[in-house]
């Protein structure tokens, strides 16, 4: 049976090892949201927001995606370069669909909004690729 102080030192050392290893891998947590509006079957507006998380995210890691970095550590740039792949992946994660249409005197108008609500992603930057894992 170890003392309390002994246990604390062990847990502290484990935490520090995890911290340093994550820093060595250059990992970070980012908040990403995506939204686009389709009006009368025409794409009207599309917005992808990427921001570094200011607080630590909690959640279980989900299915990850790996994107080529080309030696860059700027997530926004990486996503822009692989936008099609990343947006397809976002669709798979789940999109909130909000649709409304109105027919006034037989004239039809419709608006569809697809949204990925702000989600925390853990991003591990390596030499050639970035591993992006959503935390839910």
């Amino acid at each position: 049976m170890r003392s309390r102080n002994g246990n604390n030192s062990i847990s502290f050392s484990i935490c520090s090892i995890i911290l340093f290893s994550s820093l060595a891998l250059n990992a970070g947590e980012y908040l990403i949201s995506y939204r686009y509006v389709v009006k009368d079957a025409i794409l009207y507006n599309e917005a992808l927001f990427v921001a570094k998380a200011m607080k630590r995210c909690d959640g279980i890691p989900q299915t990850a995606i790996e994107l080529e970095t080309n030696s860059s550590s700027d997530l926004k740039k990486i996503i822009t370069e692989n936008s099609d792949e990343f947006i397809d992946y976002i669709h798979k994660l789940g999109m909130h669909v909000k649709h409304s249409d109105v027919t006034i005197n037989a004239q039809y108008k419709s608006t569809t909004i697809l949204t990925l609500k702000t989600t925390c992603f853990k991003v591990d930057f390596n030499d050639n690729f970035a591993r992006i894992t959503p935390l839910k």
């Binding site: 079957a41 794409l43 909000k98 409304s100 109105v102 006034i104």
Partner: protein, 172 residues
Amino acid sequence: MKRVISSSIFVALITTMFTGCSMFAKESSSKESGVPAPVEINKSTVNGATGNNEISSLTDSSNEPLLTKENKIVITVLGQGVAPVNTVSPAQAYAMAKRAAIADGYRLIAEKVKGVRVEGDDLIKNMMVKRSTIRTTVDTMIKNANVIETTFKDGLCEVEMEIIVFHSQFAQ
């Protein structure tokens, strides 16, 4: 002479009777053979309700598949999107039309899975309809929908999308 005439009339009656019966019999048999076989509803299409042309599964509720623990339902829809007029290149037009078509596909899936809220308003003044309004809304979350096929022709992009619905996803 009278006997001959009466016998001939009798024979003629008998023959007409027989031929008539046989003719009727032929007609009835031809009618039986000419009646087309009852149209069979394609079970594979009923299994997965499609986006636009699945009227049979909508009208006949007895053929609609039920979501049980044993089976799954495949929902297939066809989303349509149009390229904007002021695009820089055909590639941009394609990308934007495809995005719009995917949104339409998601909306169709949402309509099938969750349902549609419909509101109607008619304004009648002096016994005349002044304004008729129909509003429909869909609000839900869709996950794991797949794009099966994409076609782009004459500025119209069509995206065939599919989602597999399992019982466990709805189990409380």
